[in-house]
């Protein structure tokens, strides 16, 4: 039942927010964010990582003739993702506290609906339910960007929506195919995992699924919707999109691709790794010449998630664990990074790098926070970026050494564009004719301090997170290895 609560809680909160007077909106939203964190922590307290069993499982038959049931439950990986989701959502809610948006209740309600749908994705144990939640998450995002985005958002949102939807439809095709592949139709995770699928069919299904995920993540060259969308979306939505939504796709690779079509991953995974690795270098180089800070972070995000994808597709313990760790790290870091752009925008109305300078003089605390977040993002040691990145690169190196070299050079570039932009924005002299950016207000600190603490904590004690997901990752890798070995022995 707890799983159901975790899904429903945001939806119910959204409904309450819509029905309550608007002066309670912000308080209710924050309360909802805290509430989901609480529920996740309760779930985590009940979880024995060594057993790696799914907890709080719930299986209600829904459409019997199609073999669809409302089957949800959590294991270690889901728990980590839920933790991320509830943290990032709370942060997203907090980041918008400073904004003066129209139709505020609707805005928060949509944010929470998005969270609820994404939580649903993380706990679904039935492919069909999973798909419903997957698409449901897209709809609030569409309206949020359309209604509260910057500038001309119509074309951007249409592109974002259609592009990702197109990918998802291929996945739907794959889902229906998978569901009807067995003797009787069934979408339950156990049914799907037990299917024995021929090599060719695995390839087709792999391609269908990966097409959807490659767009959602996004992997080069399917990334072009991302910078525009991230740039134009309101910051809270950008945070939700890059903090959680793209993690849905990476999570789905772990949950629905690797155990389901292992042979295809074994044989064709390397092409996606190649694309992801090329994307790291490519996106980093592009980030180097960006003039808009938010866009720069958007491209940086492509580079980061490319590495995560590449590492996970190696299907080694280190790679998958590193990927999970790095998803968490990336989710936390984007909160900070995009919130920085919001603060800058608040005072100057733009995110052009050249418009800023000397912020350290007037807002030293802000500069300090920015610095820590930046170092987290470029994976400096003892920040959350490092353990994951090290593990990912290591896994990649042990499988494809040359790709690891390329990926690692992208990491150097990461330092270049981050440092250069930091110094242009934060250091130097204040541009003529303005008083600079004032010091942070309390809400800003409320956002930054948890982020900073998470960055440092996850950098020092990554083992704590890895312990949660450890058993579940083992299970999935065992499934994968067993099937691949069986095939190879034949």
């Amino acid at each position: 039942m707890l799983t159901l609560f975790i899904i429903l809680f945001p939806f119910v909160s959204a409904a309450i927010i819509l029905l309550s007077p608007s002066e309670y909106t912000k308080k209710l939203a924050v309360a909802s964010g805290l509430g989901t964190i609480g529920l996740t922590l309760v779930a985590m307290g009940n979880y024995q990582s060594t057993q790696a069993d799914k907890i709080w499982e719930l299986n209600l038959p829904w459409i019997k003739s199609l073999g669809i049931s409302f089957h949800v439950g959590m294991d270690g990986i889901s728990l980590v993702m839920l933790m991320l989701s509830s943290f990032v959502t709370l942060m997203a809610v907090l980041t918008s506290l400073n904004d003066k948006f129209a139709k505020l209740p609707l805005y928060y309600a949509l944010l929470l609906i998005m969270q609820g749908a994404m939580n649903g994705v993380f706990v679904s144990l039935d492919l069909f339910i999973y798909y419903i939640f997957w698409e449901l998450a897209l709809i609030p995002a569409y309206f949020l960007i359309l209604m509260w985005g910057d500038g001309e958002t119509r074309m951007t949102t249409i592109k974002f929506f259609l592009y990702t939807l197109m990918g998802s439809l291929f996945m739907l095709l794959g889902i229906i195919w998978l569901g009807n592949m067995g003797p009787s139709a069934g979408y339950d995770i156990n049914t799907i995992y037990d299917l024995v699928i021929g090599k060719d069919r695995q390839l087709y299904i792999f391609m269908m699924f990966m097409f959807a995920y490659a767009i959602k993540i996004p992997i080069f060259p399917f990334h072009t919707w991302q910078p525009d969308t991230y740039t134009k979306a309101p910051v809270a939505v950008t945070i939700m999109l890059s903090g959680i939504m793209l993690k849905m796709a990476i999570y789905s690779i772990i949950r629905w691709v690797i155990p389901v079509v292992p042979l295809a991953v074994e044989v064709y995974g390397k092409y996606f790794i190649l694309a992801a690795v090329v994307g790291i270098l490519y996106a980093s180089m592009i980030a180097l010449v960006q003039k808009d800070l938010k866009r720069l972070f958007a491209y940086a995000s492509i580079a980061h998630v490319g590495l995560i994808t590449a590492g996970i597709l190696t299907v080694t313990k280190t790679g998958v664990q590193g990927g999970i760790l790095q998803m968490l790290a990336h989710g936390v870091n984007v909160v900070g990074l995009f919130y920085i752009t919001q603060i800058l925008r608040r005072y100057k109305g733009t995110n052009e790098i050249t418009a800023f300078g000397g912020i350290r003089i007037t807002a030293p605390v802000f500069a300090g926070f920015y610095m820590v977040i930046m170092f987290g993002s470029i994976a400096l040691h003892l920040t959350n970026g490092f353990p994951g990145e090290f593990m990912l690169l290591n896994a990649l190196y042990q499988t494809y050494p040359w790709m690891s070299l390329v990926a690692a050079s992208g990491v150097i570039l990461g330092a270049v564009y981050m440092l250069v932009s930091y110094q242009k924005v934060m250091s130097g002299e204040i541009p003529d004719g303005d008083g600079g950016v004032p010091a942070l207000n309390n809400i800003d600190k409320l956002v930054f301090i948890p982020v900073i603490l998470m960055i440092l904590a996850a950098g020092l004690f990554p083992q704590w997170i890895m312990n949660i997901s450890d058993g579940s990752v083992d299970k999935i890798i065992n499934l994968y290895q067993t099937e691949v070995n069986t095939f190879l022995n034949k």
Binding site: T224, T318, Q321, H381, P387, N394, A408, K424, G428, P462
Partner: protein, 632 residues
């Protein structure tokens, strides 16, 4: 001492500077300058005291291992947060905390009145923490933490006066060049993990020395580690950041860019000397790189006019000499030079800092001269540092450099000659800077002249202490011919692979005689030029000859890097963004959308609103359906 007390101490040694940093960070603007400087120094000094106790117990224990907690442990990857202290790291710890304390004290005077005083000390403490982490690390990853951490502090401190964008650029350059080295190091780690299945340094070394074991990628590992070292220790081709790094405050240059951080590369190689000794090819590469860098940087230093730049190139050159020694397999000699160099180069930098302080920020030696009259203490300590770096007996530099030269001679007389040449270059540029700064006529600008003063005791006392060290540092590895017992070499024996060199005593005397007379000769030559002739470097570079212009432009290395690497890279990036990303890839995506718009735009014309047209369409449609029924 009890083992667990020692372990506690080993945790405290890096812990105290870290505590200092955290306290600074929390109480940044709430504490006064005095308290800030005092307590920052106190932490480092306490760490020094603790390091001494550790140093004494190493003698009987051999090594101390401390396991804090498991940092990353998944699958077959196991990286603990653990320290190991042996002979090598204990000396490094003494060096770091010792020189560090002196520089902390000095900084209290030097940074007095600076807006970022507290911040400066926070960074210095952080630096000490990371540097200690580097030398104490039990595994490569933790070492890498320190390795990048000191790079981070270097970045913070070079760009300390952040309002100047030139300084920021220098900081970024340093960090990025270091990161290139870091890339090599991280790949070396992957390769080590691939070959040995572990990243614990001791396990790797014991694995590598198992008789009969064959590790085909060992050459690659050592080469990559060496590339990492070139980044950190500013060797060709990654040396250009170090002179630019002089943008930071002078104590930083002394601590980070002379005494400690830049020697991390040498430390890394000595730490892995077992692996290096097994790969002679890499050793040759190291040797060649080292000596080329030594001569190259030395020749550039000859034509520099910024006192800190001269010292920076001198540092590059001296580091080159250390790598030269490493390449020869003379690890102990290299380490010995590392220690003495830390003393005298820190002394020289701090002396230069004292001059700059006295002249209110003037760094150009053309605008100095005759300063020995105004800054007596500074002059004397600088003079001692000068003698030490020029390798005048019995100053510390003489013994350490001599060790290297003798090792070179045993390899080949030619190498000895090259080493001597680099030493002569050192003598020349150091004499040049010394004479132009302290002797001859004063060329100081009048405004500055009025305020010229000797530095306060808080600065001069550390200088005096350092000059004592620079004078007597040679004792720790006094060669046999001076009735010494080469203590350092013996002390390091457990971790070194080199065999001791038994040289002919007569030959050693001859070689020493030659090098000493070379020093004297070159000093006289410099004296002739700068005192007797009173030559002062011209303001204008264009009147110079080709060679000197080449030298004063530093062989145009920066410009070449800009033109060959940086600019094309940015151009390609811009191409990727403007053409490939926006036009081609995004164009393809948008093209798909436009295509459907195009098709529907034309398909729309079938809906022209004309009813008879629709009727036709209906009739044809019915006919078509009928036709299909007929067919199937």
């Amino acid at each position: 001492m009890e083992n667990n007390i020692l372990q506690l101490i080993t945790i405290l040694i890096p812990g105290l500077p870290l505590l200092g940093f955290i306290l600074h960070y929390i109480f940044n603007d709430k504490i006064s300058e005095k308290i800030s400087g005092m307590h920052a120094t106190l932490w480092v000094f306490l760490a020094f005291i603790l390091s001494c106790t550790v140093f004494y117990s190493i003698g009987d224990k051999g090594q101390i291992q401390t396991h804090l907690f498991s940092w990353i442990n998944t699958g077959d990857l196991n990286i603990p947060m653990a320290f190991i202290i042996d002979q090598l790291s204990s000396i490094m710890m003494l060096l770091i905390t010792g020189v560090g304390s002196l520089i902390h004290i000095y900084s209290i005077g030097y940074m007095h009145g600076d807006k970022g005083f507290n911040r400066f000390f926070a960074y210095l403490n952080l630096f000490i923490f990371f540097m200690l982490l580097l030398v104490m690390a039990d595994n490569y990853v933790l070492m890498f933490v320190g390795w990048e951490g000191v790079g981070l502090c270097s970045w913070l401190l070079i760009g300390f006066w952040y309002q100047n964008q030139e300084y920021n650029k220098a900081a970024n350059k340093a960090f990025i060049m270091n990161r290139i080295g870091d890339l090599a190091m991280i790949i070396a780690m992957f390769l080590i993990f691939n070959q040995f299945g572990t990243l614990i340094i001791q396990d790797v070394i014991s694995e590598a020395t198992v008789p009969g074991s064959l590790h085909i990628h060992l050459g690659g590992i050592t080469l990559l580690l060496f590339i990492a070292a070139t980044g950190k220790s500013a060797q060709i081709p990654l040396f250009t950041w170090l002179p630019d790094a002089m943008a930071g405050p002078t104590p930083v240059s002394a601590l980070i860019h002379a005494a400690t951080m830049v020697t991390a590369g040498i430390y890394l190689i000595i730490r892995n000397n077992v692996l290096f000794s097994m790969t002679p090819d890499t050793m040759t590469v190291i040797m060649v790189t080292g000596i080329v860098t030594a001569i190259f940087a030395g020749s550039i230093a000859v034509k520099q006019n910024d006192i800190k730049k001269i010292l920076a190139y001198s540092t590059v050159s001296q580091l080159g000499l250390m790598f030269f020694a490493l390449g020869l397999g003379a690890y102990a000699a290299a380490f010995f030079h590392l220690i003495t160099h830390a003393f005298f180069k820190a002394l020289l930098f701090l002396g230069a800092g004292s001059i700059i302080h006295g002249l209110h920020g003037e760094q150009d030696i053309r605008k100095m001269g005759g300063l020995h009259r105004y800054m007596k203490t500074t002059h004397w300590v600088y003079f001692i540092g000068l003698l030490a770096i020029m390798a005048v007996p019995p100053f510390s530099g003489f013994f350490s450099k001599d060790g290297i030269l003798i090792a070179a001679y045993h390899k080949s007389p030619l190498l000895w000659g090259l080493g001597l040449a680099s030493g002569m270059l050192t003598v020349f540029y150091m004499m040049r800077s010394y004479l132009l700064v302290f002797h001859g006529d004063s060329r100081v600008e009048k405004d500055t002249m009025k305020h010229i003063h000797e530095s306060p005791p808080v600065m001069t006392v550390p200088l005096i202490l350092l000059s004592v060290l620079a004078l007597l540092g040679g004792i720790i590895n006094l060669p046999h011919i001076f009735h010494g017992n080469t203590w350092l070499q013996h002390y390091l024996t457990p971790i070194l692979t080199e065999g001791s060199i038994h040289a002919d005593i007569a030959l050693e005397y001859i070689l020493m005689g030659i090098s000493v007379s070379a020093v004297a000769l070159v000093s006289y030559f410099a004296y002739r030029i700068y005192i007797v002739k009173g030559a002062v470097p011209s303001e204008n570079n264009e009147t110079q000859g080709f060679l000197s212009q080449l030298l004063s432009s530093r062989y145009y290395v920066d410009e070449i890097y800009q033109a060959v690497i940086v600019q094309p890279f940015y151009k390609i990036s811009a191409f990727f963004y403007n053409i490939l990303d926006l036009k081609i890839i995004d164009g393809a995506v948008n093209g798909l959308g436009k295509l459907s718009f195009f098709i529907s735009g034309h398909a729309k014309e079938t809906q022209n609103g004309n009813i008879s047209y629709y009727l036709f369409a209906m009739a044809l449609g019915m006919g078509g359906i009928l036709f299909l029924f007929l067919l199937f």
